[in-house]
Amino acid sequence: MRKRPIRTSVLALMWMLCALPVVRSVAQDGLQAPAPPSQLIARDRPWDKGEKIDLRWKLSPDDSGTIASYRIYRSLTTKPAEQDALERRIEDLWYLFEDLYVPMFGFPPGWPEDEKARYEFHDPTPEEREAAGTRLRSELESLLPEIKILAKSQHADDYDYERYAEAAIEALETYLAAGMGLVEANRRAAAAVKLLNHEIPLSELQKAKIDYENAAERVARDAVTESKLAGLFGDNWKEESEERADEIPVELRKSLLDTRLEAELQAETKARREIATRVGETRWKLVAEVEPKLLNIRRGEMSYTAEQLDRHQEYLFKVVAVNRAEIESAPAIAASPVSPDRQIYDGNRLAMMLVTLIVCGAVVLFIGIARTGRPLKVRKIAGLSAVEEAVGRATEMGRSILFVCGIQDMNDIQTIAGITVLSRVAKTAAEYDAKIEVPTARSLVMTAARETVQASYLAAGRPDAYNEDLIYYVTDEQFGFVAYLQGMMSREKPAACFYMGTFFAESLILAETGNSIGAIQIAGTAMPAQLPFFVAACDYTLIGEEFFAASAYLSGEPDQLGSLKGQDVGKAVVGIIVVLGVFLATALSVAALAGNEVLAAHLEEIVEYLQRVILT
């Protein structure tokens, strides 16, 4: 009787939804470029990790029917000019080191003769050495302060490479102090500069340049190699040549090398020339293409959040409108470049934090209530009353109890839950004077289980009965552990078996073996895939959440029982959110079916907010 008014009002609401006016837009294809969007504003997104920028713009004044979508571009920004120049100087310095090494110090002893020919260097005269050394020294001295500034700059800090810069500076200073004569100092200095050069992150433009050069080089190389090796090995020259390398004549190797070097040089020159013509032009990268939704059109503006940005770069954005004939409008460009900032609090996780606080708060609250001594009612769980019975039976029969805390390590909550159950079972066992055996698959679990069982024996007032050797490590390997358990169970025939923790495929092997020796078996796990096997083969199974509740039940302490009430609050929260969400989603599809686009659009926004923001 009580429910009828609600049902009636829901029906009435749905009827009203269907009756709302319908908005339709007339599609009109234009061949001309659409009018551009305007007032593009780019702002750092507040409360994020420093990787997002919010964009907002006014829609193109053209009819919404003709605009298919908006394309968002961002510029491939370069670093500040000074930064770029410094990088280039460091690069040059590296080449200088390379070029000067041999003229300064001659070839290292034992260097093969034809290797010397490869460098086209002669053993330098003392004057040449002197000159080269002076030049290197002056270059270095002028550059060192700049490198120091770089190493201390915000830039280095951000990219976390100042340690390399520091190491490089140290090596270079040693080098300058040591003079020119030390081969080892020179080597280390060269390596230091190379390191520095290597560690400076490239801008996107530079990356593109390098890619282009590499590609040109590779094409040139393959073109030379393929014709020659294909003649020798046929179509599959690449694999074949690697397998039958011994058959490649030495002369062919030599001529290949020469022609390749030549071709590479040409290709690189050509690539550099081509790149040079492109430098200076602004390059845009398409970030996304978004379609305006009904609500956007009504509001006349749209927004988008550019993600996955680098917080050390500055970005310029532009937005263009695209009509149905795929023609782009003139762009709306943001006034100035922005770079994303990082804030200490991650706002994406606000909703999650609230949920965490509610769920945890409920548990804490009920534990608190329980401590005040108010009685708490909780229902019974069948499997748990069997614990005492199982221990008792083992004592009667004079056989042992087997307890397995799963096969995972202590970084799994199920193992911890298993250990807490163990503490209660061990206490009961100590009181009954039954022998309890705990083989473990992890060393840390063995350690923790020993602590636990020892304490339980102490609590039961029988510390002398505790035997450390009954809690032992077998092997980390899942099936090695099971092979051992299977053999052990069939030989020692424990009267009661507990499986409490994370189990995988071994669940059924254990349960079946236990069954064949006629043991009472009680299992508890939160592995959905293994539950059916325990349910089928064990006497009692604690399913999922019941397993975590077990230790609270077994302890019987009021504050532990309080946590169960807290969990129930969590479930109630789930129920409320699900019912609410389902209602909204249903209303959305009813509105859509009825053709009420405006209402549908509003509802869609709400449902999306629920799913994308609150429940993420």
């Binding site: 994020d48 990790k49 200490i344 609090y345 991650d346 996780r349 769920v359 390590d409 202590m410 970084n411 909550i413 911890i416 839950a417 250990i419 163990l422 503490s423 992890r442 060393s443 840390l444 063995m446 350690t447 923790a448 602590e451 304490a455 339980s456 102490l458 609590a459 032992y472 490590y473 092997t475 980390d476 390997e477 899942q478 099936f479 090695g480 099971v482 092979a483 495929a505 059924l508 092997i509 349960a511 069954n515 939160a526 539950l531 089928a536 083969a537 399913i543 999922g544 959440e545 975590f548 509740a549 230790s551 609270a552 302890s555 532990q560 946590s563 807290g566 969990q567 969590g570 479930k571």
Partner: protein, 232 residues
Amino acid sequence: MKRTIPLLITAIGGFVLIIAFFSSYTQSWGEVAAIWFDILAAIAFILGGGNLMKIHLKKISDRKAGWAYSGVTLIAFLTTLIIGLGKIGVNPSEQFPDYAWSGSYREVGGPFWWLYEFAFKPLTATMFAMLAFYVASAAFRAFRAKNIEAILLLGTAFIILLGRTYAGVWVTGWLPEWLEGLKLENLTVTIMKVFNTAGNRAIMIGIALGIVSTSLKVLLGVDRSYLGGGEE
């Protein structure tokens, strides 16, 4: 002291990680803690391995029943350990041919690989394969239609078992098109997508709540059995 400090360590470690999760600067702390855990677990191998040796040596020296098998275990353990830790019979890696220790200890063709391929793998895989037998005996023994719950369990298993072989096609292949949804292979899909989804979801939500409350109990010191019982 002996109990208060560990409780403090637990609470601080846990709550710091929870708070760290919500700040942009400290989100990676969880991963660091996971790496540290791996290191701790690897060091703990010394405890586990030592314990293994101790137990078996004791069995041998006591001449307990079956002490010879302890000998087998010890020999297998030590052989594998020495070959593996010593990278015996392993070639250097291809990038660094001049570093004798740079090769992979698992190199194909090496002695450690041999132990893996011809002892570790067949032994563990065969243990795994024994499940085929246990599944059969469990099906025979445990799947009895005692009540509605049991009927649902075995009925579903029945449909899936049939639906996932050619037998399913034989049994219901004659159904007309408008009853296509009842063909076993399609029924299988419906069961999986609807009932199985609903059940699994409820279990997962429940487990998540159970884990939250267990974690909280541990962090708040309500449940401190792992440190040894209630009293100081």
